[in-house]
């Protein structure tokens, strides 16, 4: 056919249109433009730096991978004596905080309900003024500091600060402090470490050793060795969580009655008269306690209290007394019920009967030589004090929050919110706006962990280890190291302050100087030493040779830490005085006698691996993985014993409503034969309201207002619950 011009134009138009459509389709198939900067830019020069992880008290050493001087990945440092190349999920995600979109980029000030960004000097001035005004009128008791940091240096600074300014109410709420408090109450000092190599039997009271502990990675390794040596671990806990299922024996028991079980076992030891006779001397009022226990805690009674069959109690008791060096272990997690501290005390008493086998203190420990007070006297106020004084109207003038998100971690959130919002001045140092810091009037965001210098002291392995946390990148935003703020506050509030250093880094340098002078230790350049080297050591040979301090400092940063490989250990043999906390009235638990527990259910909130702050679900990688083992994603689930489920006629993976006194919330039923028939096990950590992708539900919201009478920790296990069909 002949084509005239108009036809030709038409054809051309069609062709172009066709090409356009085709091109469009092709474009759709390509990878999104948004990724190109990530993938294409830069010469991609790779480098590695060592730093320390600050997600938990473990003090693992990280090996961070940088591309063009931007960190992208973090792995374990194979030369670290603590983690030995391993790393946990939390540590792996420690980079992602740095790039978090909702990180605070500058100090914020609340002006009629909205946060506006201000300069640091301005913010500091406001803070200083407020403090001055209160301190002028000697109302230091109305200033509260709530801290949840793993950094000993910051803790130390805060302690100095509170001492100098006379602020009594410093609440240090971190893992180590909480686990030490019962010891501090009873014995004045806590053991530095537990050495499982010295033990031949472990009776674990609800601690998740390889999941949530002073050093999960170290413990998971040592426990494997322990079991390979053929020794037994008995775990008494309310749930057989991920790590605990490795223990040879599981005694299912509601954690509120752990103390009763401990005393029940004590009864066996006392009855058989097989116990360390020194205990009679070391424990004040031993005989009275002994008599009390002997009459009140015979196995039948304990069986009624705890629901543990008495044969089991006897068996365990016998095992405990037969063992040469049995260790009864508990940690912070025991505090999360109404009689927490008392339970802890009764376990301490049980340990005293066997001379605290395995527990020890580090001889001339570097840690204690640097910080005289951090281990014990810090946290001279508990969360209870805070609650009581906040409850009494407008008694708190100033609240300083650092790292703590206590509103999320508490069960009586609504009341707390009300009370907190009534406080006239709240300053928060958190680098995000979370459930707690929304109530702040002033936020001075802290650096990210990868942006600040810090020392991480650990004695978990029985030797003093100092892991350096070095700044890997320069601060991205207008953030300020909280330590520096505290220091300058000290200077401004107290003219004749005996704290002479002008900044944290300077202070840390001074500690490094101590390290330099302390010639016992070695750089973390090797984590194994041959016998020959040890022998040489005896005759005064030094592991590392360094001429000047600067040299030492550089190599310290290069190798990421310092430790004392040949350090000696002392046994832990304290003088114990329970200050008539023990003997204590029996905690009555109706739930446990067989008749009523048939159809009674209790909410048992358990903490996921490595997640004792409940912050796991804030990380995009981890929130997806939160329940992947149960293949439940972004949702709350409730693990329930199949027979209980059948009694309530619930099918696996069915949606239900869990009803407590505070209301009801949906959950997915997951069959799990390894939970107690009387509990609904729900995970803790989901349901953040402000940060993250607000997925799931925070079960603490719905658990009853039951607290440990001493430490003020919310009870995780004592809320009665019912199951309703999903509507």
């Amino acid at each position: 056919m002949e084509i005239n011009r108009r036809d030709f134009v038409k054809l051309l138009g069609t062709a172009v249109a066709g090409l356009a459509v085709g091109g469009g389709a092709a474009a759709i198939m390509k990878i999104p433009k948004s990724l190109e900067p990530v993938l294409y830019s830069g010469p991609r020069i790779e480098s590695w730096k060592l730093t320390s992880c600050s997600k938990c008290p473990g003090g693992c050493s990280l090996r961070v991978r940088l591309i063009d001087n931007f960190p992208i990945q973090a792995f374990g440092n194979p030369l670290s004596p603590i983690n030995d190349g391993g790393i946990c999920s939390m540590g792996l995600t420690s980079i992602s905080d740095l790039y978090h979109p909702s990180r605070l980029t500058s100090p914020l000030k609340k002006v009629n309900g909205k946060f506006i960004s201000i300069s640091y000097n301005e913010a500091y001035k406001i803070l200083l003024e407020n403090l001055k005004n209160v301190i002028k009128e000697n109302q230091q008791d109305d200033i509260f500091i709530v801290v949840q940091t793993e950094s000993e240096i910051r803790t130390d600074l805060l302690t100095r600060f509170s001492n100098e300014t006379g602020i009594k109410n410093l609440i240090v709420d971190n893992y180590l402090m909480n686990s030490r408090t019962p010891y501090n109450n009873a014995a004045g000092e806590a053991p530095d470490f537990i050495d499982f190599e010295k033990c031949d039997y472990i009776l674990n009271f609800g601690a998740q050793l390889s999941e949530i502990s002073q050093s999960p990675l170290y413990f998971s390794r040592t426990l494997i060795d322990f079991r390979e040596r053929g020794h037994k671990i008995t775990t008494a806990s309310s749930k057989l969580t991920g790590g605990n299922f490795k223990s040879d024996e599981w005694i299912p028991i509601r954690s509120v009655s752990l103390g009763d079980l401990a005393l029940g076992i004590t009864w066996v030891l006392l009855k058989d008269e097989v116990y360390d006779k020194n205990a009679e001397k070391s424990v004040t009022g031993f005989s009275s306690i002994k008599d009390y226990i002997l009459e009140n805690y015979n196995p039948d009674k304990v069986e009624n209290l705890t629901g543990v069959p008495k044969d089991k109690i006897l068996e365990t008791g016998r095992a405990f007394e037969k063992a040469k060096a049995p260790a009864a272990y508990f940690d912070e997690s025991i505090l999360y019920n109404s009689s927490g501290t008392q339970n802890a005390l009764s376990i301490i008493f049980l340990n005293a009967l066997k001379g605290f086998a395995g527990y020890g203190k580090v001889k001339d420990s570097f840690y204690s030589s640097v910080f005289t007070n951090v281990k014990s006297s810090a946290g001279n106020a508990t969360f209870n004090t805070f609650k009581n004084s906040i409850a009494s109207k407008n008694s708190i003038k100033i609240l300083m929050i650092s790292g703590s998100n206590f509103i999320f971690n508490n069960s009586d959130q609504e009341t707390l919110k009300k009370q907190v919002s009534s406080i006239p001045f709240i300053v928060s140092f958190s680098s995000f706006i979370d459930e707690t810091s929304t109530y702040a009037h002033l936020i001075i965001p802290d650096h990210n962990e990868l942006e600040k210098l810090d020392f991480n002291f650990s004695e978990t392995i029985g030797k003093s280890v100092v892991t350096v946390q070095q700044p890997i990148v320069d601060p991205f935003f207008k953030t300020t190291d909280t330590g520096d703020i505290i220091i300058s506050l000290m200077k401004d509030l107290k003219t004749n302050s005996e704290f002479t250093y002008s900044s944290v880094s300077e202070y840390i340098k001074s500690i490094a100087k101590k390290l330099y002078d302390n010639r016992n230790g070695a750089l973390m350049s090797q984590n194994k030493f041959t016998e020959i080297e040890k022998g040489l050591r005896k005759i005064g040979w030094q592991a590392d040779q360094y001429g000047s301090f600067d040299e030492f400092w550089d190599s310290l940063l290069e190798f990421g830490g310092w430790w004392d490989p040949f350090g000696e250990k002392d046994p832990y043999s304290p003088k114990i005085n329970f200050k008539d906390k023990l003997p204590y009235p029996i905690t009555r638990i109706d739930s446990m006698d067989k008749t009523s527990s048939r159809n009674k259910l209790y909410l048992n909130i358990f903490r996921k691996t490595l997640d004792y702050k409940g912050s796991m679900s804030l990380y995009p990688v981890l929130v997806e993985q939160f329940g992947h083992n149960r293949s439940v994603f972004y949702k709350l689930w409730a693990e329930i014993n199949p027979e209980t489920a059948r009694r309530h006629s619930l099918s696996d993976r069915s949606q239900v409503n869990i009803k407590t006194s505070k209301g009801k919330f949906p959950a997915v039923v997951i069959y799990n034969p390894s939970v107690m028939p009387s509990t609904l096990d729900v995970p803790f950590g989901l349901g953040h309201e402000i940060l993250g992708d607000k997925s799931g539900i925070n079960p603490l919201k719905f658990s009853g207002n039951i607290f440990d009478t001493v430490s003020g920790k919310p009870s995780f296990t004592e809320t009665p619950a019912e199951i309703e069909s999903y509507s």
């Binding site: 054809l11 069609t14 066709g18 990878i31 010469p43 020069i45």
Partner: protein, 170 residues
Amino acid sequence: MKNILSFLVLFIISAIAGFYFFGKVQMPKTVLVAVSFSHYVHTKQHKMECKNCHQNINTQQRAGIPNIETCSLCHANIINPQSEEEKKIYNYVKDNKLIPWQNYYVVPDYAIFSHRRHTKIGNLECGLCHGDMTTQTSPILNNFRPFEMKICVDCHKQKNITTECNNCHH
């Protein structure tokens, strides 16, 4: 009736054509660099080698495009007063701003290409892929070799190196 049919056919054909054209071929981009850099001057006149400026050529995946910290080694002060381009460089160095180079040879993200593998291990000449840059007096305007897998595979075949897909696509 027939017209419409023919138009339809044409449309469909050209759509498919467009799909594959835009899908495979990458459009030549216009390079707007701040400084019209002359490889000729550097290599021929001043007898410099590639790796003097492209420093990671034997050590890293990417050769890297030098920037002021490298340029300043020579251009800390003006060498050739009558050169306009050098002034620009000098200014960048002086007020220590990064030179906004455009890197032209960009390997698509689904193919991993390592310079070291080719230069150090395979010891190939740069010219093999980049052409003779020593004659270039101004920034290049099109690839010496287009980025097509065929080119790679052919070369690998004739040098009988493995053509295992997974070695470059992972």
